[in-house]
């Protein structure tokens, strides 16, 4: 019974992790950028949802569109001015730059909003469905559904639109793409912006049930990385799958192990995958 509940909790959290990791997967997969500011960007999205809710009373699932919009531009800006100049540099450089970026974002948020935690207190925040003694968190169901929708939108965009194809081309072979007349730099900006926009959407979704403040960014970042690498970098279904796996593993870990050991299991899985199957469980998306 307990394990069934843990499974349900795990699946629902899995949806949360999956949607958090989607944007990172895109950025890592297409642009080869290890974005350590990922979590902090998500926190920006959550603050936006929070402000819109508190000031204008807009539900986060609706204000999601605004958040996406704002984060799109932030992402575009970041890529254009900070990351584009180091295209071609070793990946570690992107790590360090995004690390610095994350610090800047986190502390600007700290200065502006202070250290207190917040959640978006919608009316359905506390609702849950009970059947057969098992409880299912409503807000997490919304998020789960949202993550499926976002993944589907994502996938079809990349697969079927011209812009999407251009992005995939640019990620596979930069020189060839340039020869074909694709403005690679601009494409990169768009790709990164889409990544951050997704991250903003994820933030909106989870703002009702995960208490956040400026300091939580690193936690989101680490979890998302674990999910992305385990699921497969650049593989969007992999992000969902990885999310589900980590979600379930953590919830079972919480029940079977004590203290913070559940996180050890996640990190351990990460290391194993990095060493023995770096392309992730579902493999990296490779194109011709």
């Amino acid at each position: 019974m307990l394990y069934l509940q843990a499974l349900i909790n795990g699946i629902l959290m899995g949806g949360v992790y999956g949607v958090m990791a989607l944007g990172l997967s895109l950025i890592f997969g297409v642009l080869n950028i290890i974005n350590l500011a990922h979590g902090n960007l998500m926190v920006i999205g959550m603050y936006i949802s929070y402000l819109l809710f508190v000031l204008l009373g807009v539900d986060p699932y609706l204000s999601l569109f605004v958040t996406v919009f704002i984060l799109f531009f932030i992402g575009f800006f970041i890529q254009r001015f900070i990351l584009n100049p180091i295209i071609g540099a070793p990946e570690e450089m992107s790590v360090l730059i995004t690390l610095g970026l994350g610090m800047v974002i986190q502390n600007i948020l700290l200065m502006t909003f202070g250290p207190d935690y917040f959640t978006v207190d919608t009316s359905y925040k506390l609702s849950s469905l009970m059947f057969m003694g098992l409880s299912v968190d409503v807000a997490k169901i919304f998020t789960f559904v949202a993550s499926l929708i976002i993944t589907a939108v994502f996938f079809s965009f990349l697969q079927w639109t011209e812009l999407g194809r251009a992005i995939r081309a640019a990620s596979n072979n930069r020189e060839a793409a340039m020869l074909m007349g694709i403005n690679v730099k601009k494409i990169y900006c768009v790709a990164f912006a889409i990544g951050t926009a997704t991250v903003g959407a994820a933030g909106s979704c989870i703002s009702t049930f995960i208490p956040t403040s400026q300091g939580v960014g690193i936690l989101f970042t680490m979890t998302s990385f674990v999910v992305v690498i385990i699921g497969g970098v650049g593989n969007y279904l992999g992000a969902l799958a990885g999310g589900l796996l980590i979600g379930i593993v953590e919830e079972f870990g919480a029940v079977l192990l004590s203290g913070s050991m559940k996180q050890v299991v996640s990190f351990g899985l990460l290391i194993l995958i990095l060493l023995f199957r770096p392309e992730g469980l579902l493999g990296r998306k490779s194109e011709e």
């Binding site: 019974m1 307990l2 509940q5 843990a6 909790n9 795990g10 959290m13 949360v16 700290l110 202070g114 250290p115 207190d116 935690y117 959640t119 925040k125 506390l126 609702s127 849950s128 009970m130 409880s135 968190d137 049930f209 995960i210 208490p211 403040s213 300091g215 939580v216 936690l219 979890t223 953590e250 919830e251 079972f252 919480a254 029940v255 004590s258 203290g259 913070s260 559940k262 996180q263």
Partner: protein, 415 residues
């Protein structure tokens, strides 16, 4: 109606009185030096996760300094006024140590702080090197006063005393309601303040003869994303009560999860749970209502305590809780010692502190008196319960006005 005109004799008489008065009070001051400022240093976390709590301590210190000065300052030092110098520890040991150095350089006569045990340890090492008296206002680790430092004193109760009072309070409250706790589950963060508290809790339960059986001990990391499974684990065991220790963020998640999973217990008891004292936790309405906490508290009965609490809350818009009251009392202790020492000399101050016996204070417990390790043997703790979004003391009775509500109403009855 007095005669407007003052006769010469009266004038001379009054002038003489004034002159004599000035001479009597001023003269010794001139001998010892004109009334100056007495600097007291404080290191507290003003930024970081516990910034709010640190700030509430500092307000307690500031308010006490104001009151002491308004009452005439340190009379044995010519009415010298106290002045508080505050440094932010940023919740980091390094920074706390540097801050302590900075303050000592500014010629304080006494140091206080630092809320977090690690930081307090760090500053105690600094202050001891300079033979500077340190009166710890808020910090729990037993080890602080076990270093054999002669210059370190602590007003805040030790974890042991808080846990003991808590258990006694819980037993009394539940006995009175006719429902002693038979089974319980422990849930706490794996971080050290919680762990230290429970390391003391388990043997103390046996020592005091607590009737309950702990069915399971559940821990989770402070930075967790969800406590859903932890709550599920506890729910499945159907305990009478929960003993918890959380930070504010996960405390909120915990009660929310309990509601969502419709997990009812007779009572939720925080064991020295600092997160539960946080104002944001109180604002959770029906979710945090009826939650208990075993922690130090301020006196809710005696007039001085009530007066100070009222002024504190009016000025700072935050409740006068354990942090504010112990910080306030620390200034009273320092002022009292200065008064008896008559000088800011560190050695004399230390001797005066050793001889402290302060009854007029705002925190719960007997008169403040330090043992040979520097611990306050009068330090007390209480069991408080959140009622109507405020923490109220329900045990021990000589400091309490409110009555405990136990067992807590079920979720569906709370609306």
């Amino acid at each position: 109606m007095r005669d407007r005109k003052i006769s010469r004799r009266t004038f001379l008489k009054s002038a003489g009185t004034v002159a004599a008065g000035v001479g009597l009070t001023g003269f010794p001051a001139i001998l010892r030096g004109a009334p100056k400022e007495i600097l007291i240093g404080a290191v507290h976390p003003l930024t970081g996760l516990v910034a709010e709590a640190g700030q509430m301590s500092v307000w307690g210190l500031e308010l006490a300094v104001e009151h002491v000065n308004k009452a005439g300052g340190i009379k044995s030092m010519g009415g010298a006024k106290l002045k508080l110098l505050v440094e932010d520890s940023e919740s980091k040991n390094e920074v706390g140590a540097i801050a302590a150095e900075k303050l000592i350089r500014k010629e304080i006569v006494c140091l206080t702080g630092a809320f977090q045990s690690g930081v307090t340890m760090a500053i105690s090492k600094v202050s001891d090197r300079y033979k500077m008296p340190l009166v710890v206002d808020v910090a729990t680790a037993d080890a602080i006063t076990q270093q054999g430092f002669q210059y370190t004193f602590r007003v805040f109760p030790t974890i042991s005393s808080m846990v003991r009072t808590g258990i006694q309070g819980i037993m009394e409250v539940t006995d009175k309601a006719g429902r002693p706790i038979k089974t319980a589950v422990v849930i706490h963060i794996s971080e050290f303040t919680a762990k230290a508290s429970f390391d003391i809790f388990y043997p103390m339960c046996d020592k005091v003869g607590a009737p309950w059986k702990i069915l399971k001990k559940i821990t989770y990391p402070e930075q967790t994303m969800s406590v859903a499974s932890e709550v599920s684990e506890a729910k499945v065991l159907k305990p009478d009560a929960l003993f918890i220790n959380c930070r504010m963020r996960d405390a909120i998640m915990l009660v929310q999860e309990m509601y969502k999973q419709k997990f009812d217990v007779d009572g939720v008891f925080g064991i020295v749970g600092s997160g539960l004292a946080d104002p944001s936790f109180h604002k959770q309405g029906k979710l945090s209502e009826y939650v208990f906490n075993a922690c130090p508290w301020h006196d809710e009965v005696k007039p001085l305590a009530l007066k100070v609490a009222k002024e504190y809350e009016a000025r700072f818009k935050k409740p006068y809780n354990m942090n504010g009251s112990h910080s306030y009392d620390t200034i009273l202790v320092i002022a009292d010692a200065l008064e008896r020492a008559g000088t800011g000399d560190k050695e004399a101050l230390r001797k005066a502190l050793v001889a402290t016996k302060l009854e007029n204070k705002t925190s719960i417990g007997g008169p403040i008196k330090f043992d040979e390790k520097g611990d306050n043997i009068g330090a007390g703790a209480a069991l408080v319960q959140i009622q109507e979004e405020r923490s109220k003391c329900v045990f021990p009775h000589e400091f309490a006005l409110a009555k405990a509500v136990y067992p807590a109403p079920k979720w569906e009855k709370r609306g």
